[in-house]
């Protein structure tokens, strides 16, 4: 059985959505021109929001620190542009709510060149210095969750990381940011992987790439050289890019429910994250821009773009020829897990891997039928939960029972169950509603 798994290089359950990557897979990454106005939300990562260190009216340089980390699980923000701080206050976030943010007006006469900084000698850094450097660079997980990377590197006493797993699976349909990075900058991927591997003291590193990206696999293999890095082709399946699924696929090891990968000696980083780390140590450039795929049937000219953080989504779409008349919904992230955007003036965030526009034929609410107990959601769930039961309890508002008896909190909301459901039941939405209700109850009880 073990041999069978290792030959297959995948995890159990999961679904096979059409990957739709042909739209942008061959398009080289372009740079988006600078625009007039940038908005940097203070809480665009998981954890405590950042604290502004600039004042309204202050002039800032591109790459200058504008907000420091609010806690250990938090990270820094840097100005994506040379210009003037116009406002620090509530601005609309992608979810439609107002969140505190720093608004910067770009200086149209500035060169927007990064001030030259010497490369950082990462080999001489201790692990604590390395963690501090990564936090100072504002680097977060670039796959979409935006979890501050330095927190992952702070390994508690008594634990040891043996394997570094670099996530190049990119299992979400439409998205090609990681694919293009691996094809265009394989040396940076390898370099970033090696930096993190040595600093964590891992014995080996594995770069997991789904087999629908053969060019990326071949190029990475060429660039590995003598380093203890393995490039591993994985069977194409969703959600391969989920941390725990990737560990199962690459090493055939399971992370227990409620535990973290580091508990079994594995650290997982996205391809985009290791490239950001390589860039920071080579050029001193903090995280002020990222690669974004703009695609979907509603976009006039799909593209892979380097976008400065804080650029309004509207400007990015304008660069891509605007939206088609028939567009009905714009999503940030992939179509399986992404967030619908309530306001196009919301900015690009550290975790924005894609901007996808869809027309009426792909979106909209399917006709919902009663659950026919076919069990497809159970076969789809990579965490072996019981989604049909969870949805039923969610409808009846029995949220505590979902948490206590059906492992609600182990759900990562990958959407495989909803994708598989022939009755069109919005299972994940029920689950997210339940989680939100329980979270709010907890906040209230702590207040009292």
């Amino acid at each position: 059985m073990g041999l069978f798994f290792s030959l297959r290089n995948s995890f159990d359950h999961g679904v096979h959505p059409r990957h739709h990557k042909e739209q942008t897979a061959e398009l080289p990454i372009q740079r988006v021109p600078f625009v007039a106005r940038y908005v940097m939300p203070l809480g665009q990562h998981i954890g405590a929001p950042a604290k502004p260190v600039v004042k309204v009216g202050e002039r800032v340089q591109r790459g200058q620190l504008i907000a420091e980390a609010g806690a250990f699980v938090s990270t820094t923000l840097h100005s994506p542009v040379t210009g003037t701080v116009r406002d620090i206050g509530p601005h609309r976030y992608i979810d439609g709510n107002f969140r505190p943010a720093i608004e910067i007006e770009a200086d149209p006469y500035a060169t927007q060149q990064l001030p030259p900084r010497p490369a950082i000698d990462w080999q001489g850094l201790s692990i604590d210095e390395f963690i501090a450097q990564v936090q100072a660079a504002g680097i977060v997980g670039m796959g979409g969750a935006a979890f501050p990377s330095h927190v992952k590197y702070a390994i508690p006493e008594g634990q040891q990381i043996d394997d570094l797993l670099v996530n190049g699976a990119e299992c979400e349909p439409y998205l090609t940011t990681d694919h293009r990075l691996m094809v265009e900058r394989p040396e940076a991927v390898i370099r970033g992987t090696e930096i993190v591997r040595q600093k964590l003291g891992a014995k080996r590193a594995t770069i997991g790439v789904e087999k629908n990206k053969p060019d990326a696999i071949a190029l990475l293999k060429q660039h590995v050289g003598e380093l203890p890095i393995e490039v591993l082709g994985l069977e194409v399946k969703y959600p391969q890019g989920a941390e725990k699924m990737l560990i199962k696929a690459a090493y055939n090891r399971e992370v227990p429910a409620g535990a973290l990968p580091r508990d079994i000696g594995v650290a997982v980083n996205n391809v985009g994250t290791v490239v950001a780390i390589a860039d920071y140590f080579d050029t001193g450039m903090p995280l002020i821009e990222r690669v974004v795929t703009v695609a979907g049937p509603g976009v006039a000219e799909p593209a892979n773009l380097i976008v400065p953080l804080g650029t309004p989504i509207r400007e990015v779409l304008r660069f891509c020829g605007g939206l088609k008349e028939s567009t009905r919904e714009v999503i940030m992230g992939g179509p399986m897990m992404g967030t619908p955007i309530a306001d196009l003036d919301a900015p690009i965030l550290k975790g924005s891997s894609g901007i996808l526009a869809f027309t009426a034929s792909e979106t909209g609410r399917p006709q919902e039928y009663p659950c026919i107990r076919c069990g497809r959601c159970l076969e789809a769930c990579p965490y072996f939960l019981n989604p049909s039961r969870l949805a039923k309890l969610g409808k009846a508002r029995l949220f505590e029972q979902m948490r206590d008896d059906y492992h609600l909190m182990d759900c990562v909301e990958c959407g495989a169950c909803t994708f598989a459901c022939p009755s069109g039941i919005p299972i994940v939405q029920h689950i997210r509603t339940a989680k939100d209700d329980l979270r709010q109850q907890k906040v209230r009880s702590e207040k009292q």
């Binding site: 439609g96 619908p340 919005p426 997210r432 509603t433």
Partner: protein, 284 residues
Amino acid sequence: MNELLTAPAIMTGLGLFFGVILAVAYKLLRVEEDSRIARTEELLPGTNCGACGEPGCLPFAQKLVVGEVEPSKCTVASSDDIDEIADFLGVDAGEAEKRVARLKCAGGKAQAFQIAEYDGFESCRAAAVVSGGGKGCSWGCLGLADCGVVCDFDAIQMNDNGLPVVDIDKCTACGDCVDACPKDLFELLPLSRKLYVQCNTPLAGESVTVLCSVGCDGCAKCAADAAPGLIEMKNELPLIHYESGLPVTPKATSRCPTGAIQWLEGGQFVEEESQNESRYAQLH
């Protein structure tokens, strides 16, 4: 023969032994329960709604009998029932002011601006999780009736404008709607607090009025018109200090440019339609 009797003998012996223990324990460890508790619980409505602050009607009855609470703490029972309980226990019924759920928002479909269209299933919390529900004001009522669904007393109905109307006669101030609202818009207030701010937006000035025509823009005119010290502006919203004992009059609402501060004679949003009708009558 002897062996045949051993087993029953042991069993009988054991039975007698434990029986004696139980009999002794019954006498020695007996806890006298007040017989009035059962009767009091019968008189209570039995909804176990939690409005009194106790987990259910039985714990409330226990506290009633020992005199820790007054019968009027139960907001569900009718005043006749309360009097009956008070008579039965020989205590004073106490005077509890009737409280009802009030909504800190008046921005219905006709007043608040929508930035996106929500297309999921009908639940405020589900909408709030997706993209804030598409409402321009991210603090406002989403109008998908989570409060109405959880109300055990059928006291909340959605009006045509997409706002929950609380029936003040049916409302028992149990607090279920307070817990259900994802935007924390409901609060339980005594009916006598007639001056009320129907807005929850911490923004000020034009950034409010572009989102909603009845939002509070933080102009502080109400604070100037009311008795000095009664209304304090906090987070760009008027905070009414009822506990100060200062006179509260409808004058505070007179210059409000948006109508966010209201003088409530009874329930919220009840006059909306009649007002519109009278305006229509004036125009034609």
